[in-house]
């Protein structure tokens, strides 16, 4: 399945529609990761722009295996379940964008590789009151070469910061966009995702032919 780079409106060709199920309509799925420190607003952002649903995976964890932002009332539960924020945006009949809130706690790092595989990019939500909370996510995406933007979630009462100061404080590579947002507002969350897409498309290797030509047989293994 190859998209012509010169034709942004090109839909999947006939070959993509002839799935093994004889399905008439091709479906393209994409994903963006929403990362950030504990309580930075990942759940809020995903929920403000998409229908949010809980998604579980049952990794062999033995204590407090709940990776959502809000741990109120869940401390002490014994479970093997990791919960992720999971949102879906239907961009067209044949194009779905999934948002995955990365599990926020260190013990869930093992989930990140799978989440990051094939992702378009990531949004790192920063809370200026706890800026260090997003360092691990930034380190991870830099190491992995996954494009990301930093969105400073402006909570009520939180001092407004100049994005340039935030970029310096986070020691970001030049070119990594930093923007202010209010994750509670749909329009603001939308602008964050748009900024990420523009950033991704500005990468010289975006949409390299090799990426299009990959066979779905190369899909990553289950964890």
């Amino acid at each position: 399945m190859v998209y012509a780079p010169s034709d942004p409106a090109a839909g999947p060709g006939p070959a993509a529609g002839a799935g093994p199920g004889g399905t008439a309509r091709p479906l393209v799925t994409t994903k963006i990761l929403i990362a950030g420190g504990f309580g930075a607003g990942k759940t809020t952002l995903v929920g403000s722009i998409s229908e949010i649903r809980p998604l579980h995976t049952e990794e062999p964890l033995t204590d407090r295996g709940v990776g959502v932002d809000d741990v109120t009332g869940v401390q002490g539960k014994t479970t093997t379940t990791v919960a992720m924020d999971f949102g879906r945006l239907t961009l067209s009949d044949q194009l779905l964008l999934y948002l995955f809130g990365t599990p926020g706690q260190d013990r869930f790092w093992f989930m990140w590789d799978e989440l990051a595989a094939g992702a378009i990019g990531a949004v790192v939500l920063a809370d200026t009151r706890r800026l260090t909370g997003c360092f691990p996510a930034i380190d991870y995406f830099e190491r992995r070469g996954l494009p990301f933007v930093v969105a400073v979630n402006c909570f009520d009462g939180a001092a407004r910061h100049d994005p340039r100061d935030v970029a310096i404080a986070l020691d970001l590579d030049p070119g990594v966009p930093v923007l202010l947002c209010d994750a509670r507002r749909r329009e603001s969350s939308k602008q964050v995702l748009i900024a990420l897409m523009e950033h991704v498309l500005s990468w010289p290797d975006a949409g390299a032919p090799g990426h299009d030509a990959r066979s779905p047989d190369r899909r990553g293994p289950a964890t």
């Binding site: 998209y3 012509a4 393209v28 999934y98 897409m197 498309l201 990959r214 899909r219 293994p221």
Partner: protein, 125 residues
Amino acid sequence: MNPSAERWLDREAGPLVRPYARTRGRTRPAGEGFDLIAVVAATGARPGDRLRYSPDHVRLLRGCARPVAVADLAAEFGLPLGVVRVLLGDLRDEGLIAVVDTAAPAQGRPGRGVLREVLNGLRAL
């Protein structure tokens, strides 16, 4: 923690039945795994011996009547991802479902055409 003090409080606590109980102890599907956002669909083949399928199999197969992403199946049916993958593997082994060819590979980012479609789609929201 004292096992007797363990309480399952709500849905957030996860499934009441340990996941592997629903998959006969298996934690991963036979054959190749299913990507999180892989699209699967029923092939239209008719299930053979129904006794071999659990209610979860039947529900999942029904959920695959139209092309659907693996993560959507897990969220829709409230099943852990790993369980969905194992059960989908069973259905695939029986030729009942298959991964639908899509343009988005798992290991490389989508092509520029798809990226532009996503950007345009977001702008149009």
